[in-house]
Structures are given as C-alpha cells and as structure tokens.
Chain length 228, copies 2
DNA sequence: TTGCAAAGTTAGATATATCTAACATATTTT
DNA sequence: AAAATATGTTAGATATATCTAACTTTGCAA
C-alpha cells in the first residue's frame, strides 16, 4: 500500500504521462512542488516498489503496475468528487479540494458503497472518466476546444482544469457539461473564440479558456449519444 | 493544526481522562501502542503546542485547549460515524473503523455539510454525544449496566465499546439503543445478569457485557424523555 | 530506612520525506 | 568543438515519529 504522499506522486506521474510517457525529474518536481533531489530519492523508492522504471540520467516512466496504482487513487478521487456533488450537494467548484483528502482513505468499503449509491457512475462532475476498481483507466477521445476548426458545433464534455477559479468562471458564463457551443469566429491574432449557446447566450472565450474545455463535435447526423 | 498522529494522542488522552485527569506515560503508551520514550517525546511536543501540561516525573494532564482540540477530533469521528450509518447505510459495527480515517480530514466544509444533512445530531450510532463545533464535549450521566442494582428497569442509552465484535454480539442478541431491559436477577458469584426485553426475549448478560452497556434507569413515573 | 521494582527519562538509531549546496552529465548555442 | 546552460545526482542536514538500551527517579515493602 502506498503512503498518501506516494499516492500523490503516482497521480502526478499519471497526469504528466498524458503528455508524454517519458517524464523528467524536473517536470515531476514542478508538479509536486518539491526539489529535484527530493524527486530523485522518491523515484528510487517508487522504482523499488515496481511503480516506475528509472535509470540514471534517463526519463522516468510508469510501469503497468504503477499505472494501475495511479488509476486506483484517481478512481477514489473521482468517486469522492461525484459523491460530494451528487449526494452531499457541494458545487462542482468545491469538490476537488475535499476529494484530494478523501482519495487517501484506505477503506475499500467506503468507496464501494459510494460506487453503489451512485450507480456505478462512469464520469465525475467535471466529465473525467472514473477508472474501474481493478485500476483500469477508461480512454476518452475528447478534443480541446482550442483545437477545433471554426465554424463548427461542439458539446462540452469535460473540464481539463478543476480549479475553483475556472469552474466559477464557467458558472458565471453559464457553461456546463453538455452545453452545446456554436463556434462562430476564431480571432487569428489571439485565438479568442466567439461562441453562442443555450439558444441566446453569446460569449468570447479566450485561448486560455478554450484550452481548458474538452469537447466532442456534434455531427450533423446526430448519431453518437453514448455517455452523459 | 495537529497532525493526524497528534490527533490520535489527543483522543487517547481524552478517553484516559475519563478515568482520571492525571495520566501516566505508561498508560498513554499502552493506549497508543507505542513505547514510553515515544510518549515522552510526543508529550513534550504536545506540551509545546499547549495541549498538555507535563513536568518531569509528573503525570500528564490535558489543558483546556487540549480538551477542546480532542473534542473537535471526536466531533469529526462521531459525525462521520453517524453519516456512514444514516446516509451511507453502513452497520453500526462497521462505522468505527472508517470514521477512524475520516476524522483526520481537514476540510471543515465536509463536516459542516454532514452536520447539516444529519440535522445537527446530538448522538452518534453508539449513543455517544457529538461535541459542538467549538469543541465543547457534552456531558452524559448514563451508568454502566454492571453497576445497576437488581431488580430494576433500564434503557440502553450508549455503548462503551464500539468494537465490531461487541456490536455484532448485540446484533445477535437483538439489543439496540433504546432497548428496555428488565433486570431480573444478578448472580453474586460472577455478576451474570438475567434480563428480559422486547416483551419476550430473555438473555443472560455476562459481567463483561454489562460493563460495556451504558443505561439510564426507567423511572416508574415515566418523566424524562429528553434524548433519543 | 534501605533496597528494589516500577515508572520515567536520556541517548542514540531508524524510516520517511523533505531541504540546500556542491558536483556531474547532457544539451544547446555560438 | 568549446563554452554555457539546463538537467540530474550525491552528500549531508532537518523534522516527525518511532524504536532499543541504558540510566534515573519514585515509591512501596521488607
């Protein structure tokens, strides 16, 4: 069983692996907000547990067991977030911070019961998929709003940044998961996107915002309606 | 803010204080399952935080701030137990172990919300009173079943031992909080108590069991019906 | 009232997770 | 290709929480 600190390293390694499976000591140090020597020591430790592979001056890489261990922590985090949102009535901008603590609770029963109460949910309140109990991370195929070509119609599927600041911004703009955005114009200079939604709202979303929203394109033939 | 280990020492000190406000290093070591030197170091640490007073070779004593800090942890524990029982449907024999973890969650919102959802409850599933948010521990006046003179009628008000083993025993015997016990006979030799309850059940409760049940005597005039 | 056992303390070691300072290796730039 | 910069490692220190071994104090009993 990893300590909660090691669990946090595993999570960080998972998120960094999304960019590239090869992770540098510096990157991990920045992500965990610790010095490079600290990373060095910890990586040796994680390697001895079989969660990463690492050779001198080489990049760090999660092993399959490491990925599974990370997914189990992320499962707990996301189940907790959805529980806090759905059962306890917290706002989607509040759940992340509390889930950061709950994810380290060891009791499997606690999360099993959450899972049951929520009906084996597939997504957390920010649209991120919930890994299964055996540590399998579901894959998603969403794209960043910033990478969509205009004009186009898309649906907001997930949020790539769960910070309260960003979520409160979305609350104010009235953008939620499932909101259908019609992309009207993209400013070449700064990437600002003019969008309309909810049949009347209109907004200009900065590059910064667009790169934090994961969307799915709405095919004219309205075919795929799989999840949420 | 105490670390979760210090929170456990505070809890142990609270429970030992119920017997006598003067606590020995040995007692605390036994309660925490650590060596005496470990207690020594930790007590210095707790004293530097103002939670205990301790002079060389003297007994340890919780300060008012220490009592308040302990009560806050116990509040979290008991709120968590009731939440697990009432909202999440765990058995009263399961909640203690999970609450041992949840009590260390720092987020005040989490417990505030539990408190609201449960309607500012006064007692946990084992009948123990829930301290208020400012760290005030309510007093109770219940007596141990083992100390009641027979014949008599009493109501089970609280359980002095939340171990799954004991609670499962009570489940099997069909004894719950609120169960009215008619004490028929007390064996002088071993303290075995013959009791009847639920209008038909009868049981012989050992000294060991009777000393783990907190009861209130049922006055013939059926006056006080304050809590649960 | 002395002597010994129980209780408490000190000293020094270990494990985890962190740091800074100094050094080593890679990579990039000119 | 050499110099400069970035990246990574080693060594040694710190804080927390723990241990064992050895020593001290207290208090009871002979």
């Amino acid at each position: 069983m990893p300590t909660s600190i090691k669990e946090n390293y595993l999570k960080a390694l998972h998120y960094l692996s999304l960019q590239s499976s090869e992770i540098s000591v510096t990157e991990l140090g920045n992500a965990m907000d610790v010095s490079k020597p600290t990373v060095n020591v910890m990586v040796k430790n994680l390697a001895s547990k079989g969660w990463v592979v690492h050779e001198k001056y080489q990049p760090i890489r999660l092993t399959p067991e490491g990925k599974r261990a990370a997914a189990k922590v992320i499962r707990k985090h996301r189940l907790a977030e959805l529980f806090l949102y759905q059962v306890m009535g917290f706002g989607w901008e509040e759940v992340h911070a509390i889930a950061e603590e709950l994810e380290h609770v060891k009791s499997e029963y606690f999360f099993q019961r959450m899972d049951e109460m929520l009906g084996q949910p597939l997504f957390d309140p920010h649209g991120s998929p919930i890994p299964d109990a055996s540590g399998h991370m579901p894959s998603t195929h969403y794209i960043l709003l910033s990478q969509v070509a205009v004009p186009c119609k898309v649906v907001v599927k997930a949020i790539a940044d769960s910070s309260p600041e960003f979520l409160i911004y979305l609350n104010e703009k009235n953008i939620q998961l499932g909101t259908e955005l019609t992309l009207i114009h993209k400013e070449a200079f700064d990437g600002n996107l003019t969008v309309s939604f909810n049949h009347c709202d209109k907004a200009i979303l900065s590059q910064s915002v667009a790169s934090r929203l994961l969307v799915d394109s709405v095919s004219e033939t309205t075919k795929s309606k799989k999840h949420r």
